[in-house]
């Protein structure tokens, strides 16, 4: 029996795979450069402040906005459903499909549907769900999961994709991106025409007008939400914003942060099904609002900031850990820095205990986050929760305390005891420095990759004490 793979084992495997390393490094370098270029001429700090303020304001009015969104969607003819968790959301969607005797579902990109493993549930009910975003399509053909929230197939290069499409769809084995793209277009067009239901995500849900906004480049999102007779949009409850004006800064931030585009090819605003007398568009539009842990995160002022996320992926593009291990190493729906602060809430800390520590706290993620989520600070918070490390601020996250180990806690208590007593600290240090010839040359993980730091013969304390004549 082999143990369940952990972040450590998966990360080690990625690090040892030069192809994965190169695919991610090249992609992330490109994305970082494009983002920088896209914000040229902008007052980026001001824009990020605005983005954060708009998202924070929406979260501060969350229950009101959700009710308003529901009322306005219903008024526009969009049926609204609520789901406490992924399981329930899958059930709602499966039932809607069954009501329409749906056999074929076509999907636009939706991370929340990945979160709740919707395709798996639909398959269980005999409904085929086909991903239509090219990256998602490739990932589905490979029977994998996305390795990046914006570019799901970023871990594969053209050769790998060409081989995959050849094996699974019978395309010619040509490493030719336009050819592969047009082959996928042909394959998917038939599917669009056959589909009974289209399922999409939502980037922003506008409460004041009952509008669902979708951001995309390919047009598959528009086809998904227009061609089949039924459109089901699924989204986390945190995606709601007050009015259309609030979308303007978020849209400006989202596409530039994600891929360095000033805007995506399509910005699709849906406020209702096909009106009487119109010739296309779905006859029915449904919106499924999924909680799945979000209302829990929302109870805590600090953790709530996690919910400001607009899913741009800039935190992963700039993360030195993600760049090296890739998205699959995390083993979670959302990888990278945002995954590290979101997944512990969705799955509990017991399932995700290696994630909060898998960061050097370099701060690159927080620096680029378009809505100023203090990701490093939240990582520290989750580390604290994982060891129940603060008596003044009791832990609240599911599975808290899971990483607390007696020995480690004792080491920290001893460390604190020694460092809170200056005389003892100085004595201990002087003693260690006197006995430094005994210093071990090998310090476990540290010295497998580095030489051991050498204790100085004399501390700064001692030198300054001598110089200042013993005064303090």
């Amino acid at each position: 029996m082999t143990a369940e793979p952990t972040f450590h084992t998966r990360a080690r495997a990625s690090l040892a795979d030069p192809q994965i390393r190169a695919n991610f490094r090249n992609a992330m370098d490109g994305l970082m450069g494009k983002r920088t270029a896209a914000f040229e001429g902008w007052e980026l700090e001001e824009l990020r402040t605005l983005g954060a303020a708009v998202r924070q304001r929406a979260l501060s009015q969350l229950p009101d906005l959700l009710e308003q969104l529901e009322a306005n969607c219903e008024r526009n003819g969009i049926r609204v459903h609520w789901a406490r968790d992924g399981e329930e959301a899958c059930k709602v969607i499966t039932e809607l499909c069954q009501q329409h005797q749906a056999r074929h579902v076509i999907k636009g990109k939706s991370m929340v549907s990945e979160e709740m493993e919707l395709n798996h549930h639909l398959a269980g009910a005999g409904i085929e769900a086909l991903e239509s975003d090219l990256g998602e399509y490739i990932v589905q053909l490979a029977e994998e999961t996305p390795s990046h929230i914006i570019m799901p197939a970023i871990h594969k290069n053209t050769g790998e994709i060409s081989d995959l499409m050849h094996a699974k769809t019978g395309t010619e084995p040509r490493r030719d991106v336009p050819y592969l793209t047009s082959a996928a277009r042909q394959q998917l067009r038939t599917k669009f025409m056959q589909a009974d239901v289209g399922i999409s995500g939502v980037n922003f849900a506008v409460a004041a007008t009952g509008t669902l906004c979708l951001v995309e480049n390919e047009g598959n999102g528009r086809l998904t939400t227009t061609v089949p007779p039924v459109h089901i949009a699924v989204t986390g409850i945190e995606k709601v914003v007050g009015g259309l004006e609030d979308v303007a800064p978020l849209l400006a931030l989202l596409t530039r942060s994600a891929t360095g585009q000033h805007i995506t090819t399509y910005f699709n605003m849906i406020s209702g099904p096909r009106p009487e007398g119109h010739l296309d568009g779905p006859r029915e539009v449904h919106l499924v609002l999924v909680d799945n842990g979000r209302s829990e995160i929302w109870q805590d002022d600090e953790l709530l900031e996690t919910l400001r996320c607009i899913r741009c992926g800039a935190c992963m593009n700039h993360c030195p850990v993600y760049t090296r291990v890739g998205g699959h190493a995390y083993g979670t729906t959302y990888p990278g820095p945002i995954g590290k602060i979101l997944m512990p809430h969705l799955q509990g800390l017991a399932q995700t205990q290696d994630l909060p520590s898998a960061s050097s706290l370099c701060g690159a993620c927080g620096e680029v986050c378009p809505v100023k989520i203090p990701i490093p600070q939240l990582l520290v918070r989750l580390r604290r929760e994982a060891v129940d490390g603060d008596k003044l601020n009791p832990s609240v996250v599911r599975g808290h305390g899971v990483k607390r180990r007696r020995l480690e806690a004792l080491v920290w208590r001893l460390w604190a005891w020694g460092h809170a007593r200056p005389a003892l600290y100085r004595f201990g240090l002087a003693l260690a420095q006197r006995l430094r010839f005994l210093q071990p040359r090998r310090l476990g993980a540290w010295t497998r990759h580095r030489t051991a730091p050498v204790l100085a013969s004399d501390s700064l304390h001692a030198r300054m004490a001598r110089r200042d004549g013993g005064s303090s």
Partner: protein
């Protein structure tokens, strides 16, 4: 928001940091001497130990608070507190207020936090130091710590100081803003990832053609220099304070 710099004070407190105390006291002495040469009296409180960061980033906030609390009374005068580290400076300036929020020490922690300065920033912008290079021509590269860059926001100071040295050619490495992979306990908890990061960093620094690098933080120094030695790369580093002092003080090598 533009930072407001005060006029050069008469005195400062110096918080040397535990890494410097244990492993790199020369860097601490260099920082103190640079400040003194600017006509500032440096007060070194003998009661100082550690800022509390190792426990803080490991999640042990009770223990971090206990150690941090022991530092709060060390700075009774209203002088700036200069720290030769972006990381420890960041801990004290950015995290003390939250660590002590709701405790009897909250106000004091806030007041201390507001007086924290990172050394290179302080030398450049408060002391308005002018450095006279006395060394031989050489090429050097710089690694600014992530905390100096992103928490203390002083990434401009290191290069500006090095550029004052006439005989020093400062070369920027590729991906200068990327982390070296230290991250405290991260380096041991996530050994392989950290090793991959420091290996790339050593490669990037070496690719500049410089044999020497300076850095604002001893954590990064220990990591990068340690890896270069382990891999027997001809790259060696030192704290930027040591480098600046060595370059600008006659016979600095034996001026203990």
């Amino acid at each position: 928001m533009a930072k407001l710099y005060p006029a050069k004070p008469e005195k400062v407190y110096f918080f040397g940091t535990c890494l410097i105390d244990m492993f790199y006291p020369d860097a601490g002495m260099a920082g103190i001497r640079l400040l003194e040469r600017e006509g500032i009296e440096v007060i070194y409180p003998q009661g100082q130990t550690c800022c509390g960061q190792p426990a803080y980033t490991s999640g042990y906030h009770d223990q971090s608070r206990q150690v941090a609390e022991a530092q709060l009374d060390l700075f009774p005068g209203d002088w700036p507190i200069v720290v030769p580290s972006g990381s420890c400076g960041g801990m004290m300036r950015e995290h003390y207020p939250q660590l002590f929020a709701g405790t009897a020490r909250a106000e004091q922690a806030q007041a201390v936090a507001e007086r924290i300065w990172e050394l290179t920033d302080f030398l450049l912008h408060v002391c308005q130091i002018r450095l006279q290079d006395l060394g031989e021509p050489m090429r050097v590269t710089l690694h600014t710590s992530c905390s100096a860059r992103r928490e203390m926001r002083v990434a401009d100071a290191g290069p500006a100081l090095l550029q004052q040295l006439d005989n020093v050619e400062l070369v920027e490495p590729e991906r200068a803003t990327e982390c070296c992979g230290f991250g405290g306990t991260f380096a041991v908890r996530h050994e392989q990832v950290s090793a991959a990061m420091v290996s790339d960093k050593v490669q990037a620094l070496s690719a500049t053609g410089a044999m020497a690098f300076a850095t604002t933080d001893c954590g990064c120094l220990m990591n990068i220099d340690g890896h270069a030695r382990k891999e027997q790369q001809p790259l060696s580093g030192e704290h930027i304070a040591s480098f600046l002092w060595r370059r600008t003080h006659p016979a600095a090598e034996d001026s203990r």
